[in-house]
């Protein structure tokens, strides 16, 4: 028996989407970002913060605003959280407000890592020399710069939340996992309002190098999910935040279902049958009590294998109902935000359900026959959407799916 079929035994509260916020390479707010996305604009270009000319993938979707200094994750997340919180207009007891953020560790600056590398010595590791160098770079190693939890803590301070403050680190599924946890907390009455989302700030030499080593980034420097020419992802950065609440207010969107699974397959590749992804999608659909959706915001990274497998999983999970939906992936325009990716996808799903704005897959020009999906190519479509599915699949095989529904 599929565990999804056993679900729903507890009496739960409904979860409403009250406010959205984002900082991206296409805009300082979600309103600006969605407008640009709807026009089919793309933010991917040569990396400007450091000389990446000799890297296998020298492009990214960078946030270049001068206000983004110091600790990048917090600097990206706070304005997005402020926008979402302001839009939500929730009046809640601070003790009943919780924060859930998907984030990976902050990165030690590249210069510091290099200095530490020198300090580590020659052939063998010299701990004494290392510690001496580390002391010189003390501020760069501070917890507030490195800890994944520093983002959630900063947001909690900003909105004066006194409920639980949780940080989830599930690679590319971190942001959507945070939204799922926030939804559960509201459903189960652990909090009344939750600010949730994710942030990605991996456009730095170390992560660019690490993903290039994996062969995961595009050597062509093009993000074109589901396109026959795709050859890897392009890094992006930004933050996407959402306010969820038990009180409906004037919201028309509810979080109707969610699924979380693991591939349990291989460290370097997804399950070729897409079993883990399919099960996550099915769980979310079953929990939402539906077999179909009108819009799919796909994970769609632009890597050859992942896109093909996601297409397969969508087909197997939705069957013929998939042909009645439209599919988009925001990564063609804004690159891959890693820990923030799922939260950005969630905002795109909300846009479809709330405003009938179905965002496209930028960069997709020649759909791969092996990714046989009803794509949105070019500009956004305007069409009433009663429901949306949002996928986020992480390195290591963590899969999340969320179903959003328009309420009467």
């Amino acid at each position: 028996m599929d565990p999804a079929d056993r679900r729903g035994s507890l009496s739960r509260r409904r979860v409403w989407v009250r406010g959205l916020g984002a900082v991206s390479a296409l805009g300082r707010t979600w309103a600006d970002t969605r407008r640009a996305l709807a026009e089919g604009r793309r933010a991917i270009g040569p990396i400007s913060r450091f000389d990446a000319a000799d890297f296998p993938c020298p492009v990214a979707a960078e946030v270049t605003s001068e206000t983004v200094g110091g600790e990048r994750r917090v600097a990206l997340a706070l304005p997005a959280a402020r926008e979402a919180w302001g839009a939500a207009q929730c009046d809640a007891d601070p003790a009943r407000v919780a924060v859930f953020v998907g984030s990976e560790s902050g990165r030690v600056s590249f210069e510091v890592l290099v200095a530490l590398g020198r300090g580590a010595g020659g052939a063998g590791f010299d701990a004494g020399a290392f510690m001496a160098v580390a002391a010189e770079h003390a501020d760069s190693l501070a917890a507030r710069r490195l800890s994944p939890a520093s983002v959630a803590s900063a947001i909690a301070r900003q909105i004066r939340a006194e409920g639980s403050v949780d940080t989830l680190s599930l690679a590319c599924a971190s942001g959507s996992a945070a939204i799922i946890e926030a939804s559960r907390a509201i459903q189960l009455g652990e909090c009344d309002v939750a600010l949730a989302g994710g942030v990605g700030a991996d456009v730095d030499p170390m992560m660019l190098a690490a993903f290039a080593l994996l062969g995961a980034t595009s050597e062509r420097g093009v993000s074109c999910p589901f396109d026959v020419r795709r050859d890897g992802f392009v890094l992006g950065e930004g933050a996407a935040m959402v306010v969820l609440a038990a009180e409906r207010g004037d919201s028309v969107i509810e979080v109707a279902g969610a699924g979380r699974t693991l591939d349990g397959y291989r460290i370097t590749a997804p399950d070729p049958e897409g079993s883990g992804a399919r099960r996550a999608i099915r769980q979310a659909l079953v929990e939402a009590g539906t077999d179909s959706v009108d819009y799919v915001q796909a994970h769609g990274t632009s890597t050859p294998l992942n896109d093909r497998i996601e297409a397969l999983a969508l087909r197997r999970a939705l069957g013929a109902a998939l042909d009645q939906a439209l599919v988009g992936s925001v990564k063609g325009a804004l690159g891959h935000w890693i820990a923030g990716a799922g939260a950005l996808g969630f905002l795109c799903g909300c846009e479809a359900v709330a405003n009938g704005l179905l965002l496209p897959t930028a960069g997709l020009e020649q759909p791969d026959p092996e990714c046989d999906l009803p794509h949105i190519v070019g500009k956004a479509r305007e069409r009433r959407a009663g429901s949306a599915l949002v996928n986020a699949f992480g390195f290591g095989g963590a899969n999340t799916s969320i179903v959003l529904r328009r309420a009467a």
């Binding site: 000799d54 990976e104 639980s164 190098a209 080593l213 390195f395 290591g396």
Partner: protein, 340 residues
């Protein structure tokens, strides 16, 4: 959770050894242990040499612990529905993996980004990224064992308590019938030690260590080794840790033993203050004093110590209190199981 959720197995690795049984006895008095887990013997190890090469230290400890837990519970089928919820710390790759990349990028004394892009990249293992992403502490073990159910990876010690709570929720909601919950962390990496020293924690008495502790939870069981009666993460904001811990203990009613798992001196003082006021006659096991601080893994090692008390001594109910610098108090109450 009036009866308590059955705990059908437990496993751990830490400075106490490769088996948590007898741990509470060994932690008594002024016992001090090494801060490192013992070497893992080949017969207890997991994966092959290549797969272990891809693991951070935390991931390795977790994978070995997971394998032992699944052996103990006999859970070898239907793992694609098994839930897995884990508290983790900052995953770091070994210095040996990372630093060659930088050394190869030097042009004389000057760092060259060009050299880094062209040569430095090839000096480290290509999969080093899998040590840098925090969720791989969970993923390596899950992949080796074929676990496919609902899951979550939560950051640091408060997150470890959240992991246990989420595992219990996942079972209560019917997302899965069985789940593994716990934590693994390694506080002995050079960067972590440097950070602890810089922040003054080392000078203040904090001694980092490492470990991994996992519990196996089931919707129902004939002979559980213990029962999870309560799992809560409480904010101490506005009332202080000692007061919050006192209130939590009071709300629990009868308690036979308390394990405290404080992060740092302030948390230790607060928890000891709470336990000494109302529970003077109880034995209080101070986990981090004896084992050092295994960071995110510390609460989970505390649960193992509590289960050991339940199974080896005349203890019917044990409480684990964990606290750190994040202002949150973890409260986990465990009751004796039928197998005790």
């Amino acid at each position: 959770m009036t009866q308590g959720l059955p705990i059908v197995g437990a496993a751990g690795i830490g400075p106490f050894g490769l088996d948590y049984r007898g741990m509470a006895r060994r932690l008594g008095g002024d016992a001090r242990h090494s801060r490192s887990a013992p070497p893992i013997p080949p017969e207890a190890d997991v994966g092959d040499r290549r797969s272990r090469r891809l693991m951070s230290r935390s991931a390795h400890l977790c994978a070995v612990t997971l394998h032992r837990l699944l052996d103990e519970t006999g859970w070898r089928g239907g793992l694609d529905e098994l839930g897995f919820f884990l508290g983790v710390g900052e995953s770091t790759c070994g210095a040996d993996d990372l630093f060659p990349m930088f050394r190869e990028s030097l042009e004389g004394e000057r760092f060259s980004l060009e050299r880094f892009g062209a040569r430095g990249l090839t000096a480290s293992p290509p999969l080093v990224v899998f040590q840098l992403l925090n969720n791989f502490t969970l993923c390596h073990g899950a992949i080796l064992e074929g676990i496919g159910g609902p899951n979550g990876v939560y950051y640091s010690s408060a997150g470890t308590v959240t992991a246990l709570a989420q595992a219990a929720h996942a079972i209560a909601e019917g997302q899965c019938r069985r789940a593994v919950a716990g934590a693994a962390d390694h506080g002995l990496s050079p960067i972590c030690l440097a950070e602890l020293a810089r922040n003054g924690f080392t000078a203040d008495g904090l001694e980092a260590s490492e470990g991994s502790g996992l519990l196996a939870l089931a919707a129902e069981a004939q002979e559980p080794i213990a029962r999870l009666e309560r799992c809560k993460l409480l904010s101490t904001r506005g009332r202080g840790l000692a007061s919050a811990a006192e209130t939590a203990l009071e709300s629990l009613g009868t308690v036979d033993a308390i394990v405290i798992a404080p992060w740092g001196r302030g948390a230790r003082e607060g928890l000891l203050q709470a336990t000494s006021r109302r529970h003077r006659n109880l034995e209080v096991v101070d986990l981090t004093s004896a084992l050092g601080d295994a960071l995110a893994a510390t609460p989970a090692l505390g649960w193992l110590a509590a289960i050991d008390l339940l199974t080896e001594r005349d203890v019917a109910r044990a409480v684990v209190l964990s606290a750190g610098i994040d202002g949150q108090l973890g409260v986990v109450a465990l009751g004796r199981g039928a197998a005790a």
